[in-house]
């Protein structure tokens, strides 16, 4: 949908002058001007507002009634050295190392990307983006989105699903950074699609997979 017009020059990160942000050095700091990410600071759970959107405070959020829509969003942030990660849902940090031994993310030494971030926004789940500026500079920020509003349907052919998931059928793969499977995610998937997803089986487990997929396909809602 909207082909050819999928670029949004959103503008500065939604940071307001006077906001308080935590810093990498264990203190807190104040945003000196709108859209400025202070030195050594990181944000918590940023969402992007859009007047007229389903949720005007979170432009990428839709409810499960929008189950036939899927937003594929790639964001480009300036300055491009900024660290980015996303919490799905908001407030649930997803980065882990050695089970739960180490929590990672923008406020840690690893577990983030820089400058560019690509996700799919699942309906009924609020995502919280985090940005971190590890330099000593207070930086003016800018965000550009390139997105696609797909009209989607789950294939009803269990063999096709198996071939996609066993990588025998060409398809685009995008891994969402979900390590901690929060009940909000499970509920969002169930309410939106009727199922929480399809198990990935080995290519020699075809019959087992097909059996399960057939059963799940009776419950899908889109």
């Amino acid at each position: 949908m909207n082909k050819g017009y999928e670029v949004i020059n959103y503008g500065a990160l939604p940071l307001s002058s006077g906001d308080s942000l935590p810093t990498l050095d264990g203190a807190s700091t104040t945003v000196p001007a709108d859209g400025v990410l202070p030195a050594r600071a990181y944000t918590e759970d940023v969402s992007f507002s859009l007047s007229g959107a389903y949720d005007e405070t979170d432009m990428w959020y839709v409810t499960d009634e929008y189950r036939e829509r899927l937003f594929h969003v790639k964001q480009f942030v300036k300055p491009s050295w900024l660290r980015i990660d996303v919490r799905i849902p908001k407030s649930v940090t997803q980065g882990r190392f050695q089970r739960d031994k180490v929590v990672t993310g923008v406020d840690k030494d690893f577990g983030f990307r820089r400058g560019v971030f690509e996700v799919v926004h699942l309906p009924k789940i609020h995502y919280g983006y985090r940005y971190c500026n590890e330099t000593n500079l207070n930086v003016y920020t800018f965000v550009k989105f390139i997105y696609a509003e797909y009209i989607v349907e789950i294939p009803r052919n269990s063999d096709l699903i198996f071939r996609v998931l066993s990588k025998q059928y060409p398809s685009y793969w995008l891994t969402l950074p979900i390590v901690v499977y929060d009940p909000i995610v499970a509920e969002g998937l169930k309410d939106t699609y009727g199922i929480e997803g399809f198990t990935v089986y080995r290519s020699d487990q075809r019959s087992e997979a097909i059996r399960e997929y057939e059963k799940l396909l009776e419950e899908v809602m889109v």
Binding site: P32, A33, V36, K78, P79, S80, W81, D109, R114, G115, E134, T135, N136, L137, N138, V139, Y140
Partner: protein, 132 residues
């Protein structure tokens, strides 16, 4: 690949034989600063320098391994001399490269050997990148 090109501007009122650090500004940066701390794992590449002034001076590019130390140790890694009033523009086909191995590395610009009293200017193109 991550790459951001910044132009840093500095100016100073000086007297003969003076030296000091430039206070810098940049359109992408709010406020002023005297050094740039380089993100861990990234590099700073200095591609171009422009010196100008109503008097001559020496521009020095300084580097420290640890800007968080109570008294950082700065080393001059490059210098350029403007011999008298005027302007000099230098572009580097091979940039000056500074690598951040700990995230505490920083660069700053300073001036020395001013030839008289007046105003001096500098601008520098610096790229922050993770490219080899």
């Amino acid at each position: 690949m991550v790459s951001e090109l910044l132009t840093l501007y500095g100016t100073a009122s000086v007297s003969a034989g003076g030296s000091g650090d430039f206070t810098l500004t940049s359109p992408m940066i709010y406020g002023s600063f005297t050094y740039i701390r380089i993100p861990k794992g990234m590099k700073a590449k200095i591609w171009a320098k422009r010196l100008a002034g109503t008097v001559g001076y020496t521009l020095q590019i300084n580097f420290t391994h640890d800007v968080t130390a109570s008294t950082p140790t700065w080393s001059v890694i490059d210098s350029e001399h403007l011999s008298s009033a005027g302007m000099e523009s230098l572009e580097k086909r091979r940039p000056i490269v500074v690598i951040a191995r700990t995230g505490k590395e920083a660069v700053k610009l300073s001036y020395a050997n001013t030839t008289g009293g007046g105003t001096i200017y500098v601008d520098v193109e610096i790229e922050i990148t993770d490219e080899e």
